[in-house]
Every structure is written in C-alpha cells, then in structure tokens.
Symmetry: C2
C-alpha cells in the first residue's frame, strides 16, 4: 500500500498496534537496490508488519550537493516493495514532512543535533549539517511510524553510529538493527549514487573496496599500526581518484586509534568521476 500522508500512516499503524503486531521501519531515500532489499528482508523476518519510507530529505543535502539530481524511481521502488511483501510504502512530499512555504533552516524548524564528537569527522567534516538533517528526519519518521525495530545499512557506518547515539541519548523507544553491506560481485558496495557512474567509472570505483580489503588483510597478517595500515592505500590510487578520507576508528565510538584491534572499522570516502562514494569494513568479523 502506497501512502503519502502522515495521518494515513498513523491510522494504519494504530490498527496493527491494537492487534499486538510488531512493526519494522526501513527508512530510505528510494532508488532501491539489493542493499535496501536486504534490509527489507531482515525487517520481514523480524517484524509482523513492515513500513518502507521513501523520502529524499532536503534538509540533509548541502546547497552544492546532489538533491535535485538524486535518482527518484518511485514506481520501481513500490513494485520492488510489493514483491518483498512490504505492508506500507510511505512516500511523503517535502510539504507533508516540513510544511508549506517556509525556508528549511534552524531559524524556523526544530532540529535534532547529534553531538559534535560524532559529527566533526568522516562525512560530517565536508557535509556540514548533514547529520542534523538525517537525525531530524529519522526521528520524525520514528514518531510517525512508531516502529519496534528500524533497519539501517552498515554502508553508512557513521550514520548508524549517530542514529544509535540519538536513540540512546533521547530514549527513543526503538531498536536499531544494522545490516551488512551488500556488494556487486566485483566488490563494489551498492549505492543509489552508483547510477551516476560510467562503466569506466565503476571500474575505477573498485579502488574503495580494494583498499579496505587490503587493509584488513594486512591487519590479519599482524600489522596494527594505523599509519602503516593507511599507507598501504596509496599504491591503489591514481588520478581518477580524489580521496576524501581514509580513517581507522573504534566502530562503536568513532574514536581514532593508533593501534588497530578487533573493534576497528576502516572507512573511506573517494570521488570517482565527481561522484562521492563511501565504503567501510570491520577488520574483524
């Protein structure tokens, strides 16, 4: 069932709740791919009823980012959700989510602001305000759907850490389930933004997973010095790659580490053909 209206979703959810059913939410920006499908399948396994939200959230994009260009494929998305047995696809307009005619800014809207310690690094360093926008829309969706469980992909690792922190800090009554990254056979992590890449670009984009796999292999061989591990990346890069960051951190707290250990996550962001791609890997799993 496709719903565009907040009240309709509330009404539907109230019926389920009355029948004692558990509810799962998969928040997405649409342009669904096999990564999203893995979240939906996990939600179907875990919960009686599943809501997938499809909303390209304007307040998490910076002014120079790809909000207008971001792929919108609602017909395909709803068909895919139907095939997976999703109960409700919630695809609101920006007006439905943020009201009419106002500039979307913290001058006139209440924001949820995750802590600087988690934000001022990795993607947050270049995407100013991005995680405020993410937390704000995710909390709104939680308040609309009131799910027991919500499903997020490990691909956006910093996002999952920050959403978990928000849920904990604000006592939000939901359990966050993180699901593994889904990759093409080539190793490329699935992303809606892969659609921007040419065939050549997709080959160049393999550098992200190769760098991460190599770091993991080096760690398994006994190298734990973080600088040494990071230096192994440079031989993979050429002038088709603009590296934005490569970091090794504690996967729960995003604290930087000097020595990698079994809590370490390696995270990379790199532009290929101007497209900003991210990926990450746990050194132990």
């Amino acid at each position: 069932m496709l719903l565009n209206n907040i009240q309709e979703v509330r009404d539907e959810v109230r019926k389920w709740r009355k029948d004692g059913l558990t509810i799962g939410l998969v928040p997405t920006m649409g342009a669904l791919h096999a990564g999203h499908v893995s979240l939906i399948k996990k939600a179907k396994e875990t919960c009686d009823k599943v809501v997938v939200s499809v909303f390209v959230n304007p307040i998490q994009f910076g002014p120079s980012e790809d909000f207008d260009k971001y792929p919108r494929t609602l017909d395909n998305d709803t068909e895919l959700c139907d095939n997976e047995g999703v109960d409700v696809v919630f695809a609101p307009s920006a007006k439905e989510m943020y009201g009419e005619g106002q500039r979307l800014s913290n001058d006139v809207l209440t924001y949820v602001c995750p802590p600087f310690f988690y934000v001022n690094k990795l993607c947050g360093r270049t995407r100013t305000g991005h995680f405020d926008g993410v937390c704000t829309v995710v909390l709104k969706l939680f308040n609309i759907v009131q799910p027991d469980y919500a499903f997020f992909g490990q691909k956006d690792a910093q996002q999952v850490v920050i959403v978990n922190k928000m849920v904990n800090d604000l006592n939000v009554p939901v359990k966050i389930i993180q699901c593994p990254i889904v990759r093409e056979d080539s190793g490329l992590a699935l992303s809606s933004r892969n659609k921007y890449l040419s065939d050549e670009g997709k080959k160049d984009a393999l550098v992200l997973s190769r760098i991460l796999n190599n770091i993991k292999a080096c760690y398994k061989k006994g190298i734990t010095d973080v600088n040494a591990l990071k230096e192994t990346a440079y031989s993979f890069l050429n002038n088709h790659h603009e590296l934005e960051y490569l970091e090794l951190m504690n996967k729960y707290t995003l604290e930087e580490q000097e020595k990698a250990d079994n809590s370490t996550i390696a995270l990379i962001a790199c532009r290929v053909e101007g497209v900003r791609l991210i990926d990450n890997i746990y050194l132990e799993d």
Copy 2:
C-alpha cells in the same frame, strides 16, 4: 508510586497501554505548588493514568544560574502527588537521565534544538541554551512515558510555544494541554522561585502582575499602539526592580507586533532581590 528508574516507568506504562488506558504526563522540576496542582488536576480529569516527573534538569541551567540552589522538596512533592491520586512520580537522577561521568554538552550528547526565531527573544535572549535543554529533556520524558497528553503551565509562555513547535516539527505523538497561570490572592504568579523572596520582596514582586493587568486594562480601553502600552509600565517600577524585558507579541508565533490585537500576549521578566521572575497575560481571554 515513586520510581527512579527509566525501565520501571516503561514497564508500568506498558501495562496501562495494554489495557487501553490513556496516559497524561506533567513534567516538573519539583518544588510543587498550587500551579502544579492545577496541572495535575487537569491531567486527572483528562487521562486514565497520570505520571508526574520531578527532575531538576541540569542542561537547562546556565553556568551562572540557580541549579544548585533550586529548591528540592521530593518528600513533600510525592505526598502532594499521592493526595492528588497521581499514579507514578518519576524522579530520576541526572545519571539515570544522562549517563555517568560525562560532561553534559553538545560535544557528547544529542540535543533537540528549537528554532532560533522562537529562542532568540524573551527568556532565551539571556538564558543561552536554556530552551535546547528544555526541549531535550521534554522529548526524553515523552519518549520514556509515551503519554497521550502532556500538561504545561501558561506561566512559562515561551516554553509552551516552543514545546508545541517541537511537537509539531518532529511529529511527536502527544497532545500538549496548556493550563492557566495560578496566582496568589495578591496577584503574584506562583513560582517555585518565589521561595527565594523575603516578605518585602514578595510585595515588590507584585509589580509584574500590576504592569500586565494595567496593560490589559489600557488595551480594553482602546489603546493598541504597542509602544504606548509598554510605556504605561514605567510608573510602576522603582529601584527595587530590574526590568529584563517587557514585550507584546502574537501568542502563537511570538512575532512582534506594532499594534496589539486579540492575539496579543504581554510578557514580562523582572528581577526582585536578585530573583528572576516572569509573568504574562493574554490581552483578550
């Protein structure tokens, strides 16, 4: 029943919810007086079950404010709640609400930040961060108790407007009920901070309600020019009074007005004996 623990409150509320009962929350900082009692009575009228939270919230006090000195009278508060038939008094520690051993700042905690337009005026102008702290703790309490209704006093008029804005912006599933100001026979608005005043100070404090009543009387006589209405205040003030603000605004939007009308609220903050007192009045009611 007095509970200090978040999980115990959740367990209690879950039972009520399962029985289809409606739940009201009265969030307080304790030191309960007849103003709070009026909120509790309204909650009892409106809901099947009533929770009163008693928590002096550290993150809504500035470093030079009266957090340490703020009156704490939990035994009296619980007795008063028992007499009013309150079902649960929730009195958590700061550790229970914010975790242990961390500095309470937006470096390490997720905050709810109401919009600048509503914050950069009235009490928010001198109390930096106050309304971020209020919204954060109120949303936490909403998420813990999950009430159908929450009850706030008109005395903290800016607070109610901001909490309503938060509820609307973040789609929080709760209805805010605003209750009228309760006054002593003298006209003094009840406040936990009145305890700081000497008998002489309580007399000087009458200036707040006198100024507001006079403005309302002048409006009723046909004066609508906001500057003219504000100027009527000065004859009431003497060197026992440090006026912080006197403003006339739209009561829903906190927009400044040149001409008063039936949407206007007059708001005043004034120090007496160093104690910061606030009061307000609707010009039409």
